[in-house]
């Protein structure tokens, strides 16, 4: 293999070396943090995606070492490859932040903003984008574009009103299925994602369009209105699935599995599974296996996206070295009850710290006797 050429690129005054052919967006993601432009339509796992939403616009202030002229227009960083010696301005350029605020406003003028009843709320990329780059008010005072809700089969609900036409689901459906069934009808602001004449989608992997959707336009019908995502806790789990990699994230509340999704990385994209392929999961795993006994739990997921779903602060979780018994001086774990705080008031005669094991209802139910 020939030696891969490395290009030096400076993004917001941070210099990094990346292989030739890398896009500006991916170079910025390598640096990470605020330097990475937001992307609503680009999805690194999907061929041909990107360039459409225009939120990732950046200013190229120096084209390359050979040709230092700046690029006249802002460029879509997800589709522009780096050149050696290129200098890019993202958050340091007022032109970029202004244009990005404009794009956010454009994306939101026809969006219903029905976050209070939307299943995507809390893990919605448009919400994040709006908080990061948008303004609190709107200058749009006209009726918003609306569509009927459509069910694409038993599992997927299409709520076109919320759609921002990123085309991710179109690419997913095209690249996963042999036959093209899913695309865009009409033009302009009345364009819509559709299957021709509301036909159902039957592919075994079609559930992945829900995962790639950055907004709440495609939602899981088995999860609709069941819970808010921030009440459920993400847990990594796997099962031996004959069709897919079987590595998923369970969204649980107590010991109830509310939702199953693929595992996502910090950019909200589906992670690679342990065999190195993209971790798409099949419909059976996603929609049918909603019982805890179907899965082998690996532990809490690490979520470091800055949205509301990371409120559990599962960043950098480490398993403690000690076991429960060691910490509790040999006492065996039993179910805890929530009577500790009231017992002081009701039965001050029972000294909790002297009990052998946790306080249970049984102790308090017994009539008072001289047990000291």
């Amino acid at each position: 293999m020939s030696e891969q050429q490395l290009f030096k690129v400076t993004i917001d005054n941070i210099t990094i070396e990346v292989p030739a052919g890398t896009t500006i967006l991916n170079a910025a993601r390598k640096i990470g943090g605020d330097v990475a432009p937001p992307a609503m339509c680009y999805y690194s796992k999907l061929q041909g995606s990107g360039g459409k939403c225009r939120t990732c616009l950046v200013e190229v202030s120096k084209g390359s070492e050979k040709d230092p002229r700046p690029m006249p227009k802002l460029v879509a960083s997800c589709r522009t490859t780096v050149m050696d010696g290129m200098e890019v301005k993202n958050i340091t350029s007022p032109r970029v932040t202004d244009a990005r605020a404009g794009v956010v406003e454009f994306l939101l003028i026809n969006h219903p903003l029905d976050c209070p009843i939307c299943d995507q709320a809390g893990e919605c990329h448009l919400q994040d984008l709006g908080y990061d780059h948008g303004k609190a008010g709107t200058r749009y005072e006209f009726q918003r574009r609306t569509f009927h809700k459509v069910s694409l089969g038993d599992y997927i609900q299409l709520h076109m009103t919320r759609c921002i036409l990123c085309y991710r689901c179109v690419f997913t459906a095209d690249q996963m299925t042999a036959k093209r069934e899913h695309g865009v009808l009409d033009r302009g602001d009345h364009a819509q994602i559709a299957t021709f004449i509301e036909r159902n989608l039957h592919n075994e992997f079609i559930g992945n369009v829900i995962d790639v959707c950055p907004v709440g336009a495609l939602t899981d019908r088995t999860f609709r209105f069941k819970n808010r995502v921030w009440f459920t806790k993400p847990v990594d789990a796997h099962r031996n699935c004959p069709t897919c990699c079987g590595e998923v994230q369970l969204w649980m509340r107590g010991d109830e599995v509310f939702r199953v999704t693929a595992r996502k990385d910090e950019w909200g994209e589906i992670k690679d599974s342990s065999d190195g392929k993209t971790g798409w999961i099949c419909n059976t795993c996603r929609f049918e296996k909603k019982h805890i006994s179907d899965w082998v739990i690996e532990g809490p997921s690490n979520i470091n996206r800055h949205s509301v779903i990371s409120q559990g602060h599962y960043v950098g979780v480490e398993k403690p070295a000690e076991t429960f018994e060691k910490v509790m001086d040999g006492r065996k774990p039993r179910y805890f009850m929530d009577i500790h705080n009231v017992s002081e008031v009701n039965r001050p005669d029972i000294e909790l710290s002297l009990l052998d094991g946790p306080a249970t209802a049984k102790i308090f139910d017994e009539p008072q006797k001289d047990n000291k």
Partner: protein, 447 residues
């Protein structure tokens, strides 16, 4: 001076026999004796600029085409003439179709394209028949097909109809549509010269550009470059419309002034009904509108001529563009706000919906303009319109976003008082019956 439409008036010039008798297909005979590089060189020397709107030098575009070994190349003729106000290609193809076919054969030979396409807009249904008739005639006489005139060069021309989308006039959207896909513009790079139709190197040229190759070969590139002025060489077809005495397609040699073009009897013959000139869009609906004072004279007080440089003199602040040559003239009775609304409605309808600023912005602009036009506007709406257009311009994948933003920007820049009049006089702007006010029936005015 006429080069393209010189023989258009001859009866039955549409037929091969008449066209050949009048000296047709001489350029093919001449070109087949030259090498492809010599033809490209002649086109380069001629200084021919793309007639579709952008005005990019054709010879340079041709020399950019990638020539990988074993990969076929294609030439595509862009006959998807959908720009409001532009109808020059229609005239050319309808009256003298063999000129286009002749230009296509020469250009295909120069570029090494064995399969050449004419992508024509769906609304020109009858012209498809005319072109196909011309192709059959050319083929029967040995100008197309296998081994043309015994030189060993093969060339086939196919006519492909579009389905009526303005966006398919953008070269990459045209290529997508030609491949049978949805007409969404591609993201450049890669440019069509590297990856075009079916990922093969492709050149997309306007009908008029390809037709102009014929006189260039006939008279030689240097001779052609002597016509016109500066970098605006050769002749240009201008389709004049609006409130003119003699609207129609005119061939000009880019040395005449705008004033002469509008007022002389040789061309448009002045403004209709004895009214005064108010404004004009000199190059098709996408280019900025100019008020009469800036149209006839530049901001520096020089006479404005009908050529690429002079029309764009002063940038967008006080100038416009040559564009595709759709010359739309507005007289004093026309309302610029209503006119801008019409254009905004068009661009909203024709936006492909791929990238967000254009998809959402064009609809928003149309709604605001509708409010202003119908007396529901506010002063802040005018500033909002300006802000929206500035956020669309330059931030989109293809030039349609710019094309939608420029007319609105120019209308506000030059006719802000008219927008304000609409805001301050909401009742009166509902009563006005634009353009018809002076000769309309009394009952029509009562509405």
């Amino acid at each position: 001076m006429k080069l393209l439409l010189e023989k258009a008036h001859i009866e039955n010039i549409r037929l091969y026999d008449v066209y050949r008798r009048e000296g047709g297909y001489r350029s093919v005979e001449k070109a087949l004796k030259m090498t492809p590089d010599e033809i490209v060189d002649q086109v380069k020397r001629s200084g021919l600029r793309g007639r579709g709107g952008a005005g990019f030098p054709t010879g340079m575009k041709w020399s950019f085409i990638a020539k990988p070994e074993g990969v076929p190349r294609h030439l595509v003729c862009n006959a998807d003439e959908s720009e409001p106000g532009t109808f020059k290609d229609r005239y050319l193809m309808e009256f003298i179709p063999h000129l286009l076919i002749e230009g296509l054969i020469v250009s295909s030979f120069a570029l090494g394209s064995n399969v050449t396409y004419i992508y024509i807009r769906g609304e020109y249904a009858w012209i498809v028949d005319i072109l196909e008739q011309a192709i059959i005639e050319a083929k029967n006489n040995g100008w197309l097909g296998k081994n043309i005139q015994g030189t060993g060069f093969d060339c086939e021309i196919y006519v492909q109809r579009g389905a009526g989308a303005y966006i398919c006039g953008e070269e990459t959207a045209l290529i997508e549509s030609l491949e049978g896909k949805r007409g969404n513009p591609r993201i450049k790079p890669p440019f069509p010269a590297v990856k075009g139709v079916w990922d093969r190197p492709t050149v997309v040229n306007n009908v008029e550009t390809l037709a102009a190759v014929v006189p260039i070969i006939n008279m030689g590139g240097d001779e052609y470059a002597k016509i016109g002025v500066g970098k605006s060489t050769g002749t240009k077809l201008i389709s004049a419309c609006g409130n003119l005495n003699k609207p129609g397609v005119y061939e000009i040699d880019m040395t005449i002034s705008v004033e002469e073009f509008i007022y002389s009897d040789k061309y448009c013959g002045g403004i209709a009904n004895g009214r005064k000139l108010k404004a004009c869009i000199p190059g098709g609906s996408s280019v900025p509108i100019l008020p009469a004072n800036l149209l006839l004279k530049t901001a520096k007080g020089e006479t404005r001529y009908m050529n690429y440089e002079s029309l764009s003199d002063g940038g967008f602040a006080t100038g416009s563009m040559m564009g595709s040559g759709g010359f739309i003239v507005l007289d004093e009775d026309q309302c610029v706000v209503r006119h801008t609304l019409t254009l905004a409605r068009f661009y909203r309808h024709e936006s492909c919906g791929q990238c967000s600023p254009c998809r959402e912005g064009t609809g928003w602009m149309e709604k605001i303009l509708k409010n202003i036009e119908y007396g529901k506007g506010k002063m802040s709406d005018i500033d909002l319109l300006w802000d929206i257009q500035s956020r669309i311009e330059g931030n989109t994948i293809c030039p349609l976003g710019d094309a939608a933003a420029w007319p609105v920007a120019a209308a506000i820049r030059h006719f802000r008082d008219e927008f304000e009049w609409h805001v301050f006089n909401p009742d009166e702007c509902l009563k006005r019956n634009y353009g018809l006010a002076h000769y309309a029936d009394e009952r029509a005015l009562a509405v």
